[in-house]
């Protein structure tokens, strides 16, 4: 009975507690408002109906170009990057060549203007167009859908088509300052071109018979023919640069004389020498340092090598050395590399082509001794290696496996394990050197301890792609210009924007339909390649180049380029896009229609739009739309008339 009474009382008590709660809630603030009209502010990621900001070829302003204005170029690149208007291809290139710009000019058929735009930032277009490691293609947005645009080959096409045209006319000398540049490599020539454009007297000293630096000596002829390089160098000299070849500073002219007679000096000597293996028997006859071999081959005095060759090293230089020795008559070429295939620094295409040409890869082996018989090389003793933990550079440290020595019977050994700078001409000059023999310089202004002397190129940045040397050449030009104008070097100067390499997403090729595929460069057949030093890749025809250039999505220019990537990703297939064909020069979007009856407002099309023209407007879903407004034709999509949307 007692339980029942307490239960009875609890029951009634809970009634009054309930009443108390409801009455207390009366005065609570009401968050609900009259949706959607009274909603104070719509968050910026609010997904209304998809809407285009602008369309290409319909009275829209052209895409923005990035000319090389000496002082402000770094500043414009950095500000565009912040606003999100910098396309990835321009961002990924160390020298920020305006890839989007010149590809679009090619698409419109204006090849000469395209070449001029390339020349702004890349001084040797034909050469770089053949040898560059393509960082721009790694950043291309088209990787997300199928295959990137072949930007490097288009650069080469632009240079090749304008090769028969005349060189640019010289620039009048307005300033009476004289600049000496030691080393006619990519860095030196870039600085020379920029300073010549400013009207300075520029003289370049180079010890090789022809300008081009490592591009001349290090790159074999089948990849970069010498007449093409010569055309490029002449184009730079035509601007008024005085190039003195076969003059070695330090031997023919002492550096101290240059520093006194010129107002400023730029050291851009690059990395001519190679590291030695440091193993016993290295000075025997038949051991060719790789760079030396490539240099002799490039100067056509046909170095004689034996039948069986062993190239030591895994970089691009080693690949070139191996393929050159094949062309110089070697039957059997072994490539000896300490680490595994994944850790090889050479480019993927290089490794692939050398395998095609029949080079035997001796991976995970390290040479320990050169067997010498009568002063000549008779074999190379190597040891098998096992891979341990990754070292500082992230590559796994190789440890020799005891007792696994074996002998490669070869008669020529070509060490190619890295390049070294040659600063012999600096004796007696008061330029401070670091304990390891490198020049001490200011990272931002590239100035050495002697205020009149600057450095640029691989001599300071270390081995890398040619385009990196060109980028530091531009920096040096800006410093020199400021130095000669007496302006403080550091004040108001934005450092160069260093690109971050993208993790290259690969879409498997078999799922991409043929006409969306990337135009691949045709090459001469395999047997003809080994015969002589004719160039392997044949370049694009005009029709191929324009078609490839039209594949470009013209990223981040806030005007729809009709690439139909949004139509591909729309789950409900409610977007219809039509643009002018790939061959017509004038690119126009003929029809753009979003069928709002099918659209889910899921926002994936706006996310994927490479040009950032398609955005989700603030229209409140279909509550706003009557039946006939539901078909969003081009006029409506551009929403020029409804002032309601402020974007």
């Amino acid at each position: 009975m007692a339980g029942q009474i307490s239960n009875f009382i609890d029951g009634w008590k809970s009634m009054f507690v309930g009443l108390g709660i409801t009455i207390k809630r009366r005065r609570m603030s009401k968050a609900t408002y009259f949706y959607p009209y009274e909603k104070p502010t719509l968050p910026d990621r609010w997904r209304g109906a998809p809407m285009l900001k602008g369309v290409m070829g319909d009275g829209s302003t052209g895409t923005e170009k990035f000319p090389n204005v000496l002082g402000e170029f770094n500043a414009t690149i950095e500000s565009r990057k912040k606003e999100g208007k910098l396309p990835q291809c321009v961002y990924s290139c160390p020298a920020h060549v305006d890839a989007r710009g010149y590809v679009e000019l090619i698409a419109e058929g204006r090849f000469k203007e395209s070449l001029d735009l390339i020349r702004e930032r890349c001084t040797l277009p034909a050469a770089i167009g053949r040898v560059c490691t393509r960082p721009c293609e790694e950043g291309c947005r088209r990787n997300y859908f199928d295959e990137p645009i072949s930007v490097r080959d288009l650069k080469r096409f632009a240079a090749d088509t304008c090769m028969n045209m005349s060189h640019p006319d010289p620039i009048p000398k307005t300033k009476d300052k004289k600049i000496a540049i030691i080393g006619g490599g990519p860095a030196g020539l870039t600085a020379a071109q920029d300073l010549a454009k400013q009207g300075y007297y520029v003289t370049v000293y180079d010890k090789n018979p022809q300008g081009g630096g490592t591009l001349l000596t290090g790159i074999p002829k089948y990849r970069l023919p010498k007449n093409v390089l010569k055309w490029d160098v002449d184009a730079v000299c035509a601007l008024g640069v005085d190039l003195k070849t076969n003059v070695e500073v330090g031997k023919d002219i002492p550096l101290i004389k240059l520093i006194d007679s010129y107002d400023a000096v730029l050291i851009a000597t690059g990395l001519p020498a190679g590291y030695t293996l440091g193993i016993e028997g290295e000075d025997a006859e038949g051991v060719w340092p790789c760079l030396e071999l490539l240099k002799q081959m490039n100067f056509d005095n046909h170095p004689k090598i034996g039948k069986k060759v062993a190239v030591v090293g895994g970089g691009n230089v080693a690949m070139d050395g191996a393929r050159t020795s094949l062309r110089l008559g070697a039957e059997e070429v072994h490539l000896v590399y300490r680490r595994g295939r994944a850790e090889m620094p050479a480019r993927y295409e290089e490794i692939h082509e050398s395998e095609e040409e029949g080079i035997i890869f001796e991976l995970l082996t390290n040479p320990t001794r050169v067997i010498v018989k009568g002063g000549k090389v008779a074999g190379l003793e190597c040891v098998k290696m096992g891979l341990g933990e990754p070292d500082a550079s992230g590559r796994r440290r190789p440890e020799p496996i005891p007792g696994s020595e074996f002998i490669l019977d070869v008669d020529t050994v070509i060490p190619a394990i890295g390049q070294k700078m040659d600063l012999s001409f600096l004796e007696g000059i008061d330029i401070k050197l670091s304990d390891r023999g490198a020049i001490i310089y200011d990272k931002l202004t590239l100035q050495t301890s002697n205020p009149k002397v600057f450095t640029a190129g691989e001599v300071v940045t270390g081995a890398g792609a040619a385009i990196q040397a060109i980028a530091s050449g531009h920096e040096a030009a800006e410093s020199l210009d400021r130095f000669l104008r007496g302006v403080d070097l550091k004040e108001g100067r934005t450092p160069q924007v260093m690109p971050k390499l993208y993790n290259y997403p690969r879409v498997p090729v078999e799922w991409i339909e043929p006409e969306r595929r990337r135009a691949h460069m045709k090459a001469i057949p395999l047997e003809k390649r080994l015969k002589g030093f004719t160039e392997v890749e044949l370049g694009f025809t005009e029709e191929e180049a324009v078609r490839e250039a039209n594949r470009c999505l013209v990223c981040d220019n806030e005007n729809c380029s009709g690439c139909a990537m949004c139509a591909r990703t729309c789950p409900m297939h409610s977007i219809e896009v039509e643009r002018t064909g790939p061959q017509e020069t004038e690119r126009k979007v003929l029809k753009y229609n979003v069928d709002l009856t099918k659209c889910l407002f899921c926002g994936q099309c706006a996310e994927v739009c490479p040009t950032k023209a398609l955005v989700m407007s603030k229209d409140y879903e279909n509550s706003e739309y009557s039946k006939e407004k539901l078909f969003y034709d081009i006029e409506r999509v551009l929403r020029r008339d409804s002032a309601k949307i402020e974007l």
């Binding site: 309930g18 009443l19 609570m28």
Partner: protein
């Protein structure tokens, strides 16, 4: 109201037969009550919406008229203009008569209820029994609605409502015996006169039982088993629409007003309140709308009982409490 003497000589002087005179006056009073109830209906609907909105963190009607006041006119118009669907399978006459019976039962209940010291249609000396007996005819209306509309939900709903209304008649009546014992009479106006101290303080248990039983009688939560949305989709008036449903709605709110008036009269001392006599009806109305507010407040707080729990509560809890109340009152009065 008018004393009967003046009426008589007025009738004779104009040669109107007596019965015609009474009929005319009755019609006049009925019309007055109907108008009052119409106005009360609108106010109650508006109040219901606003109170429930308040409790549920909503705004309630705002658009129609200043602060939503014209919403009640809109509701009334809605009932009148809506199409009056007549289901083909329904029994024609039972279906049509059900709302009339419900409405009549509720309307007759008002005859005895005083609105002020003299303002009562017919001050019967057995007013209390009358007021308890007549509204229970409404049960017949409910059953007629349920079976008339041949809809399974309606049948089940009406059976539930009937069971509930009948079984709560008993505790409701017994809880008032305490008052009769104290007041000594069953004439409502004299009960109000006798309430120096409000009967709620004298009869707390009685008030509690009466209040809960009234809620059950009116089919309001926590006892609205009849038209529970989640189970029987509006119970017995599922098939009704338009003005017929309007009558049901009108009947419901009228019986709500009548029950609140009865509670005010019996327990809260009718029109007793400070200030001159002319203010009496105002006090009464304030108390009535106070009771209505509590009823609505309860409605929007509590969940619903299950039908067998309702029966248990009715017979096993409220009835004994009513009897105990009578016992206690008897002991106290005899001492």
């Amino acid at each position: 109201m008018l004393s009967s003497a003046e009426l008589l000589n007025f009738a004779n002087s104009h040669g109107i037969p007596l019965w015609a005179m009474d009929a005319f006056i009755a019609a006049l009073i009925a019309l007055g009550l109907f108008a009052a109830m119409g106005l009360g209906f609108m106010v109650q609907v508006y109040m219901e919406r606003k109170v429930s909105a308040g409790l549920q963190l909503r705004y309630g009607p705002i658009y129609v008229g200043p602060k939503g006041s014209l919403q009640l006119v809109a509701d009334a118009l809605k009932f009148i203009t809506k199409e009056d669907v007549f289901p083909s399978s329904a029994e024609p006459w039972i279906f049509r008569l059900a709302p009339v019976v419900m409405f009549a039962a509720a309307f007759l209940g008002l005859l005895v209820l005083p609105f002020g010291p003299g303002l009562v249609a017919k001050d019967l000396n057995v007013g209390l029994i009358y007021v308890l007996a007549i509204p229970s005819i409404g049960v017949a209306g409910v059953i007629m609605a349920g079976f008339g509309s041949k809809n399974r939900y309606a049948i089940l709903g009406s059976l539930r409502a009937a069971a509930q209304m009948i079984s709560y008649e008993v505790p409701r009546s017994l809880s008032l015996i305490g008052i009769i014992m104290i007041a000594g009479t069953m004439r409502l106006s004299s009960i109000v006169d006798g309430q120096g101290i409000w009967y709620i303080f004298l009869q707390p248990l009685g008030f509690l039982v009466f209040f809960v039983a009234t809620m059950a009688e009116l089919n309001r939560t926590p006892f609205d088993l009849a038209e529970s949305e989640s189970e029987y989709v509006n119970g017995y008036h599922t098939e009704y629409s338009g003005m017929r449903f309007g009558f049901f709605f009108f009947a419901e709110y009228m019986s709500l007003f009548a029950a609140a008036l009865l509670t005010a009269v019996l327990f809260l001392g009718g029109w007793h309140g400070p200030g001159p006599v002319i203010l009496a009806p105002v006090w009464l109305l304030i108390k009535v709308f106070g009771v209505i507010y509590v009823l609505m407040w309860v409605r929007w707080t509590f969940p619903r009982f299950r039908i067998d729990q309702v029966m248990d509560l009715g017979w096993k809890v409220l009835l004994p409490m009513a009897l105990v109340n009578i016992l206690v009152t008897g002991i106290i009065m005899s001492v």
